[in-house]
């Protein structure tokens, strides 16, 4: 544990003010993520997990506590963290290529170079041939591939994924989880992946952090997943871990 964490949350608390009432969303959240670790935050709806991710992203500020990246306090959004949105958030007026190259474009990378970068990541997510398609011509799974490629193309050190497959059907969801493993193993990054799906969590994570089922969100338990990749959903250890986590979750509901 001598290694410095890539991302560290220290006593992060968040509450919103709504209708003159303070609604606590996160309660003294401590988390440290090592470089190239794949951490999954697992919790049901309304457990503060999206808020946590947005605070780590720098899109929202915590009420107290702080987020550190490489030991530096996070004060706002930045290029070194990439976010994949639950609702894709592709720009409908841009083609796949236009969406993916947006990050390098904003950083002033010359057109030829950013095309090269974008092509690389379009290929990585398996969308070659669709460079000139507009988002509305793509299926949900393909849209989120674009979302992942767009985040990757900006060369972030940390990838934050906010229930990225929440809007997909079950089969596509399985497949996208496989693809996520493949992409991550091809180009390793530190990943914080938020989901409400237990199987997805076990399939993907090095470590799973479960949240309490109600607000304010706080860490319930941590599971280390040492199964070799690619993982099988019907593997005995996989099923055992799923049983343990399901048991724990059941008590909450």
């Amino acid at each position: 544990m001598g290694k410095k964490p890539k991302i560290a949350c220290e006593g992060v608390t968040k509450s919103f003010l709504r209708d003159m009432k303070t609604i606590p969303v996160l309660d003294t959240f401590d988390l440290s993520v090592q470089e190239n670790e794949f951490v999954v935050i697992l919790g049901p709806g309304q457990s503060g997990k999206t808020t946590l991710l947005r605070i780590i992203a720098g899109l929202e500020t915590s009420s107290s506590g702080r987020v550190l990246m490489d030991g530096n306090v996070v004060t706002g959004p930045g290029q070194e963290r990439g976010l994949v949105f639950q609702r894709y958030m592709l720009f409908p007026w841009k083609t796949v290529m236009g969406n993916v190259e947006l990050g390098p474009k904003l950083r002033g990378v010359p057109k030829k170079d950013r095309r090269e970068i974008a092509s690389h990541y379009v290929n990585l997510v398996g969308l070659s041939g669709f460079e000139n398609a507009y988002p509305h011509q793509l299926s949900g799974g393909m849209k989120q591939r674009v979302g992942i490629a767009r985040a990757y193309a900006n060369k972030p050190e940390v990838m934050l994924l906010d229930e990225p497959f929440g809007q997909l059907d079950a089969q596509t969801r399985y497949f996208m989880a496989k693809e996520t493993t493949r992409i991550w193993e091809t180009e390793k990054r530190t990943v914080i992946f938020v989901t409400n799906n237990i199987e997805e969590a076990i399939f993907l994570g090095d470590r799973i952090i479960t949240l309490d089922g109600k607000l304010p969100g706080r860490i319930k338990s941590t599971f280390r997943v040492d199964l070799p990749r690619p993982r099988e959903h019907i593997d005995a250890d996989f099923l055992e871990l799923r049983r343990v986590i399901t048991e724990e979750t059941r008590l909450l509901l």
Binding site: A57, L59, G76, P77, G78, Q79, R81, G82, L83, F85, R87, M89, F91, P92, W93, K94, L102, G103, L106, R107, Y134, P135, H136, Q137, R150, A151, N154
Partner: protein, 283 residues
């Protein structure tokens, strides 16, 4: 074996009748055939009204209208030929419309991006918004005389409202998470404006501009009907004073024609400017 031929042939007659009916039905259902039938019916009803003098002698036949338009092309009316009158109306529309787009879109943008501006402008805007632009004509003539200014003013009044409303709504309805995308990728506020605000609001603004244009066209005719020495509204008004219905209907036909051409070209412009919307409609 005795009489097998007769029922068989009767059957085949029935069958060929059914096929004939099928063909006729297919022809009748064809879009273009229906277009032609529609136009022919319209022209027939028109001619019937004119020939049978349903409205006395005040309904010209199509041929009369065409020949009147032809003669107006050649012989000047109030020192201007037909094309010059059309240009008089068109140039008024263009000036008033362009002024309305520039001021209206700018105002809508400011209202959407700054809530203080919105709070300041909104009450007056909401008060004046439902006023029909034509209601301004009399005041406009008193203020600006019967020259070009009063007509441009009326057109501006009619065209500015849809520009403001659509620019405002176009920006307010942008998904705020789209800004987060730009911020996460390291963009500055200027990038948010260029990459999100402008393209996201553009279709709505463009729709507002389309409404503005047709409103401007309606306003110019109204303004010219009241006080003008040129323009299509003037031709229509003159036709009324001279009891020359072919002149009136000719003027109306020109208005319809120009409005149609404008609508087509704006549609084409939109397809060219918003390719992501085009495929949405066709697919």
């Amino acid at each position: 074996m005795s009489t097998p031929a007769e029922p068989k042939s009767r059957f085949s007659i029935v069958r060929s009748c059914i096929t004939m009916w099928g063909i006729v039905r297919a022809i009748l259902k064809n879009r273009f055939v229906l277009y032609v039938i529609s136009v022919v019916c319209f022209l027939y009803v028109w001619d019937f009204i004119a020939v049978h003098r349903v409205f006395g002698s005040y309904m010209p036949r199509l041929v009369e209208v065409i020949s009147k338009l032809g003669s107006m092309m050649a012989e000047p009316l109030a020192t201007k030929t037909l094309l010059e009158h059309v240009w008089a109306s068109l140039s008024r529309v263009l000036i008033g419309f362009l002024l309305a787009v520039v001021t209206g879109v700018a105002l809508g943008l400011f209202m959407a991006l700054n809530r203080h501006v919105n709070a300041f402008v909104r009450p007056v805007f909401d008060l004046l918004k439902p006023m029909p632009p034509i209601a301004w004509i009399s005041l406009s003539i008193l203020w600006f005389g019967i020259g070009e200014t009063s007509k441009v003013f009326i057109i501006w009044v009619g065209a500015v409202v849809p520009c403001v409303i659509n620019a405002y709504n176009g920006i307010r309805l942008i998904d705020p998470e789209l800004y987060d995308v730009v911020r996460m990728l390291g963009g500055k506020p200027r990038d948010e404006a260029v990459e999100v605000v402008m393209p996201a609001a553009f279709p709505a603004i463009f729709a507002g501009i389309q409404i503005s244009l047709s409103s401007a066209w309606a306003c110019v005719v109204a303004a010219e009907l009241v006080a003008a020495r040129s323009g299509i509204g003037f031709i229509i008004n003159l036709g009324m004073n001279l009891s020359e219905p072919s002149m009136i209907v000719g003027g109306m036909a020109i208005i319809a024609l120009i409005a149609w051409v404008i609508a087509l070209s704006v549609e084409w412009l939109e397809r060219w400017l918003c390719p992501w919307k085009r495929e949405l409609l066709n697919g």
